[in-house]
């Protein structure tokens, strides 16, 4: 089950217009992703952490998310310093650590964590539904937005259908193994899942037609102007300029 643990909250950041958060989160991520200088990258991590604190999220829950990503990054640390070409930083017996490899790994680590923290602070602090509506107000094509929202809506239904099929197989004694019978059963399960998803889509479309659907969606969401939007935009703009300055000057 997908849950949205960070979406509910009463912090200042939660109250900012979601559209503005999406725009700044995107700009911030791009700038961090293209930065290479360590002063800029370290500052970005600190700024992102500041945003998370301002959002008032449970730091423990945030840390758990970071662990997942940093697990992958750990793999990079195991591979890049050993394999990257360039002058060596350190010899440990037969092993040579390359300087560019270490630098690259460090950059990736800082960038990923900075971007992830910023996205948790700015994007996870709204529900997926709100995000969908914010995207649609930002003129992201309607079809994409509705694909996004409908996927979110029906992922659970399809998950349930999958679990039902698996249960049906299990109660009749199905034990997965490495044999043709297992592969065939999984093929059937997945095939059935597609068939059911298609049938479901057909019925949903019928239900929509019954309610007068003519191909156009309407959004009920309103994003009223608030002073917090200006404060947030000013601070974020200052952050962005600061990061660019650090990146270019050093």
């Amino acid at each position: 089950m997908i849950s949205e643990p960070f979406a509910a909250g009463k912090s200042k950041i939660h109250q900012v217009d979601p559209r503005i958060k999406v725009v700044f989160a995107t700009a911030y991520s791009f700038i961090v992703a293209f930065s290479t200088q360590f002063p800029a990258l370290f500052t970005a991590v600190v700024l992102s952490f500041l945003m998370v604190c301002l959002t008032g999220l449970n730091l423990w829950a945030v840390a758990k998310r970071l662990v997942v990503v940093n697990g992958l990054i750990l793999l990079l640390w195991l591979i890049l310093p050993l394999t990257y070409n360039g002058d060596s930083l350190l010899h440990l017996g037969p092993i040579t650590l390359s300087r560019p490899g270490v630098i690259l790994s460090a950059q990736i680590t800082l960038k990923s964590n900075a971007i992830l923290l910023a996205l948790i602070a700015l994007i996870s602090s709204m529900s997926l539904v709100t995000l969908g509506h914010a995207l649609s107000r930002l003129k992201v094509p309607e079809k994409i937005v509705h694909l996004f929202l409908m996927t979110f809506r029906y992922v659970f239904v399809i998950e349930n259908e999958y679990l039902r099929l698996v249960r049906a197989a299990k109660i009749r004694g199905f034990r997965p193994g490495t044999n043709i019978h297992t592969y065939k059963t999984y093929a059937y399960l997945i095939g059935m899942l597609f068939v059911r998803a298609a049938a479901r889509a057909e019925r949903v479309h019928q239900a929509m037609r019954c309610r007068g659907f003519k191909g156009k969606f309407y959004s009920l969401y309103r994003f009223p102007p608030k002073s917090i939007n200006w404060v947030f935009s000013s601070v974020m703009t200052a952050f962005l300029i600061g990061l660019l300055y650090l990146e270019i000057v050093f």
């Binding site: 539904v129 809506r153 239904v157 019925r203 239900a207 019954c210 659907f213 009920l220």
Partner: protein
């Protein structure tokens, strides 16, 4: 049957089969009058859902005549108007609720009918209140319980202010409390409807006539005299066995 002389739904000799299958609906006749409340009881697979979908124009019969509100309907275009005046409650609430939040889903119909946002929200709130769902506006549809989903689906249909309701097994999978609620709602509604259910007690409480379906046809209580003998109970004209 009722005060008005012409049927608001009139099906004549409707035949329908799914691709490559035998006729599910076979020369079916149905006359439905203003104020009618018909119960439809028949075993699974007898074409009840199919019949509803034909009335809504979701399935096209191979032959036969459909007249609704005194007008012959054929094309998709004709059915657009029918669909705003007849509300179909689907058998599976997950088919009906596709919007992420309850308010959006209930407002979807009114918005399609050309209402403004404010009007649509107003209608939706009223409908939700009427069904005892006040405060559900911003709930996420897929996180609702089965009974809540059914009631919200019902709200999405009622929000279109239909003149006729077609209810496809509205009680299946519901707990007793929600069942009671749906029965109350039906009894309080001033609206004509056809109700599919497997529960004769439910139909006895909420409908005036009970029909059954067999071999792709509707058997009304006048036609379906399977037996006649000395015992009294309600709807004894419906084919049934005593053992």
């Amino acid at each position: 049957m009722n005060e008005n002389s012409y049927p608001i739904i009139n099906l004549e000799k409707i035949t329908y089969s799914y691709p490559g299958g035998p006729p599910v609906i076979n020369e079916l006749d149905l006359k439905f009058y203003h104020g009618d409340r018909i119960g439809l009881i028949a075993p699974n697979g007898n074409g009840k859902t199919t019949l509803f979908h034909i009335i809504m124009g979701l399935l096209k019969p191979a032959s036969g005549k459909i007249e609704i509100f005194g007008k012959s309907v054929r094309e998709e275009r004709d059915f657009l108007d029918i669909r705003r005046r007849i509300g179909l409650l689907f058998q599976d609430a997950d088919d009906q609720l596709f919007s992420p939040t309850v308010l959006e889903d209930v407002a979807f119909g009114p918005l399609n009918l050309g209402r403004s946002k404010e009007e649509a929200i107003e209608i939706s709130r009223k409908t939700l209140n009427f069904l005892g769902l006040a405060g559900f506006e911003n709930k996420i549809t897929f996180k609702l319980s089965g009974g809540e989903k059914r009631l919200v689906s019902f709200a999405t249909v009622l929000a279109m202010e239909p003149e006729i309701l077609l209810l496809d097994e509205p009680l299946t999978g519901l707990d007793n409390q929600t069942r009671g609620k749906i029965i109350d709602i039906l009894l309080n509604l001033d609206i004509s409807y056809i109700l599919i259910s497997h529960e004769i007690d439910f139909l006895a409480a909420t409908t005036k006539q009970i029909y059954t379906m067999e071999n792709g046809m509707i058997l009304s209580d006048e036609k379906a005299y399977i037996h006649k003998h000395d015992h009294i109970h309600q709807f004894g004209t419906i084919p049934h066995k005593h053992m």
